[in-house]
Symmetry: C2
């Protein structure tokens, strides 16, 4: 009660009105302009071509301006059955990568009067409530990044328009896919390492089965099949700096010839790999080359800077939102993979002759 009155008074002050007064409605604008509420709705909704005279339209717009009229979003949503809100499902918001994806999506959304809400990982938000469940009536569509299949189940079951980011294009169900040309990037990265003379590779692989990591692994293996003397091992690692460190220590410390290049599934793992090398008394890139993935700030914060594949995170989000908007309007979504960039930096160099 007190809270409600507080909110109301606050709203009033937004437009410089006296506290206690209601915010202006389309009806207020109507009486100020001397027309009916319906006309206000037509004019401000840009649906008046030929139905309202130029002069009246001007009057309405002026009155709306004077009163500081803002349409009530709740009322509009109720009337239209649409909410102009999309859900972005990400595995974890704490990653800079998904923060950028969100930013890109939010920018495009804002241009179309849409909002974006987040659903940051099933376990992150507390076990008691399923925010997706409670938000269902307030969503127009869902943009979901690559996640474990079971986490997606409840989303798939909803049948809301769904756009998938960086995930298996063969999957049926999603209205659209926004994918990256990761295979091409990995191929270029591998060629870079091969060109430097590397032949013994160890893949520090994420221990989750997201499509994106499956592709990374496959592309790396594919790129090395043509090279007769190349050798590829794989060590799985928890997705964290420390997980990368442990995996790399195992890889570098294991018996047999030491790998000369550690290809890591993301920049955090690569940072861990660099730490592992340091602990074992090896130097990067002189004794071992290390590559990352994602192109986060972290990649240039390290010494040496990481050679990495930079993903256009913001573009992914932007394109995802654009695709959702297209689907909602019945247009075909833009297709074609987004390119990734190979950033060659200090963490890779020619291996020392054995």
């Amino acid at each position: 009660m007190a809270a409600r009155a507080g909110v109301r008074a606050a709203r009033a002050a937004l437009s410089g009105r006296a506290p206690g007064a209601r915010p202006p409605t389309s009806r207020d604008v109507a009486s100020a302009a001397g027309v009916s509420q319906a006309t206000v709705s037509l004019v401000l909704g840009d649906k008046w071509r030929g139905r309202v005279s130029e002069r009246t339209a001007g009057l309405v717009r002026e009155a709306a301006q004077d009163l500081g009229y803002r349409p009530n979003l709740a009322a509009r949503s109720l009337r239209l059955g649409r909410t102009r809100t999309a859900l972005l499902v990400v595995p974890a918001m704490t990653s800079e990568f998904f923060a950028q994806v969100y930013t890109g999506a939010a920018k495009v959304a804002a241009e179309h009067g849409f909002g974006v809400v987040l659903y940051p990982s099933p376990e992150g938000i507390g076990p008691a409530r399923d925010p997706f469940d409670s938000a269902r009536t307030a969503l127009d569509g869902v943009i979901a990044s690559s996640m474990a299949a079971d986490a997606l189940a409840s989303i798939r079951g909803s049948d809301l328009p769904l756009v998938m980011l960086d995930s298996d294009p063969a999957e049926t169900g999603p209205a659209a896919h926004v994918n990256l040309d990761i295979a091409d990037g990995v191929r270029r990265l591998t060629e870079h390492l091969l060109g430097l003379g590397h032949r013994r590779f160890t893949h520090i692989a994420a221990d989750v089965d997201s499509w994106t990591f499956v592709v990374r692994a496959r592309a790396l293996a594919d790129a090395l099949t043509d090279v007769p003397d190349a050798e590829l091992r794989t060590v799985r690692a928890e997705l964290s700096v420390d997980g990368g460190r442990r995996a790399a220590e195992a890889a570098l410390g294991s018996p047999g010839p030491r790998p000369s290049a550690l290809v890591c599934d993301d920049d955090f793992l690569a940072a861990g790999a660099c730490k592992a090398a340091h602990r074992l008394g090896l130097r990067v890139p002189d004794d071992v080359s290390v590559t990352g993935f994602d192109g986060l700030t972290l990649a240039t914060a390290l010494e040496p800077e990481l050679t990495t594949l930079t993903l256009p995170a913001e573009q992914v989000g932007a394109r995802g939102m654009a695709a959702l908007l297209a689907v909602l309007e019945g247009r075909p979504a833009e297709t074609g993979d987004l390119p990734v960039t190979l950033a060659v930096r200090g963490s890779t160099a020619a291996p020392r002759p054995a």
Copy 2:
């Protein structure tokens, strides 16, 4: 038109109903339970103690369950004048710190049926639209982090309930403040460095005038005033790895005795400082100690790991949201500064005797 039909069909499928059917409303539940819509509202709104019999309440709940009834949020908002949505204003979403703040706020919000939307920096979202402007009618309150004063102007002017994070407690206007005991943290950090024997300090300071950075500078100066032979210089730096590198190169390369400790305003600056030291052929921590601020993942990704002040980012967000909820309900918000943690790691050591 087509889009609207698509959304409607999708909604229907959410509850396993045939496509084309409307989602169930409270009136549908009412007729299924053999009561009036008003009774359904009472029961599901938990306002029926003494007004509806236990038996009838059970019937209503059962019917709601069977039909998969979800209240329509738009209708509820329209009726109540409240939206159960808060705005979180952050300077940039790309930072891990604010991502964590968001996570904390969203968790608490979800527990109370609230949502959180983001307003990621005035310039970040595109110049054409002011999302705060368009969202005003759909907000119950605002949580804003420390920003430049002018960026806050339009928010302050709104008079919506406002909670400020890590900002000047003397500021009037905000309904509540959530602050960190940064002064205490800086004092402990300084004592740590003094204890190691450091006397020549250079503060790599952020070149923005947010309250939090003002406090950091002041606390550092205060902690050194009692130490007669201590010396403090300040170099301002753009808030980025490269900004930190440039500032540190200037500090370490300038004439006169070299500083033995670089106290940086955040972890990115500290990472840049480490790179600068490396470029100048100095070793961290043997030749120069470096400290960070924030305690991001970055701090432990570097080699050596950064000694830093770890801020409880998620707690900040959680407490901010809790404070906003308190204000909205007319309760006093919890007060008291949140503690920060000094994480002593490899980037600080005793200076070499001159």
